[in-house]
Symmetry: C2
Subunit: 173 residues, 2 copies
């Protein structure tokens, strides 16, 4: 179900299922509502037999979950940055902070690029790859690839995956 | 280590370990950095043998994770609300949105109060209880208990737990 979840427009219908008024929210056939993204991903992984995108334990699991949190965290401040730019009174300290974080996260991605390429595809890859797709979608003028060639190369391969191509974000016309 | 992580003051030292410049961030003896809160909680649960605060599977696990996400989500918008009030130009639509979400989440907590009391203590209880502690800490003038007697009763018992009493938030003097 397509639902508008904008920063300053809480959605009464969505809030029946998720009082945070955020997407994604998944309502199961029995009426159970699941959120947020991380919980839904784990649920879907379980439907697929479990352990498909979530390593079961140990260092691999912690690394995957940390990367997922890093991608999630980047999405959070990119949403805030986009929202900031649309305010009547833009706060320059906020824009500067989000921009500093954006650069720091891109540098961290670049450092991890080799290991991302070398390791089995998991929820950490989804988190980082998805955050970069959002960067391309909403900050299309941002030439992040120029100074981050390693993660740019990794992301090109990520975007070529059938699952990613099938879920490319689009604006309503 | 005490670290200042304010919304508009990215912390260069912290960002070496967590480019999001957010707390909590846990650095292990081998230098591995873990974040965010959810990942650290799972790590600590593992140290304690696993399955102590995280139900292993099934509906109990999904409910616990959803509640944890709900508490986390409430913390996120309460931080934004507090930050909004400190801006030079306060955006009333933002304040109104965060306030609407606050009321919706409190109503959802109230609906879950009976089940929270009846079910085994898990990470969902920690997430909801902690969010309410933050509400008391930073929005002390908010009399949320008046119209939410069920969750207020549950929260009184939560606050009496030794682990909660030992970690009460305090302001630097």
């Amino acid at each position: 179900v397509r639902t508008v979840a904008a920063t300053t427009r809480p959605h009464p219908g969505l809030m029946q299922d998720n009082p945070l008024s955020k997407i994604p929210t998944l309502v199961l056939d029995d009426g159970t509502a699941l959120y947020d993204s991380r919980v839904i991903c784990e649920y879907l992984d379980g439907l697929a037999g479990g352990g498909r995108l979530f390593p079961a334990a140990g260092k691999a699991r912690l690394t995957a979950l940390r990367r997922q949190a890093l991608g999630d965290g980047m999405l959070d401040f990119l949403l805030l940055l986009r929202n900031e730019r649309e305010r009547a009174h833009v706060s320059e300290p906020h824009v500067a902070t989000f921009t500093t974080k954006k650069q720091a996260v891109l540098a961290a991605f670049e450092q991890e690029a080799g290991d991302l390429s070398a390791s089995a595809f998991d929820i950490g890859h989804v988190g980082i790859g998805g955050a970069l797709c959002y960067l391309d979608f909403r900050f299309a003028d941002e030439d992040w690839r120029k100074h981050h060639p390693g993660i740019a190369r990794w992301h090109a391969a990520f975007c070529a995956r059938p699952s990613v191509r099938a879920t490319e974000p689009v604006d309503d016309s």
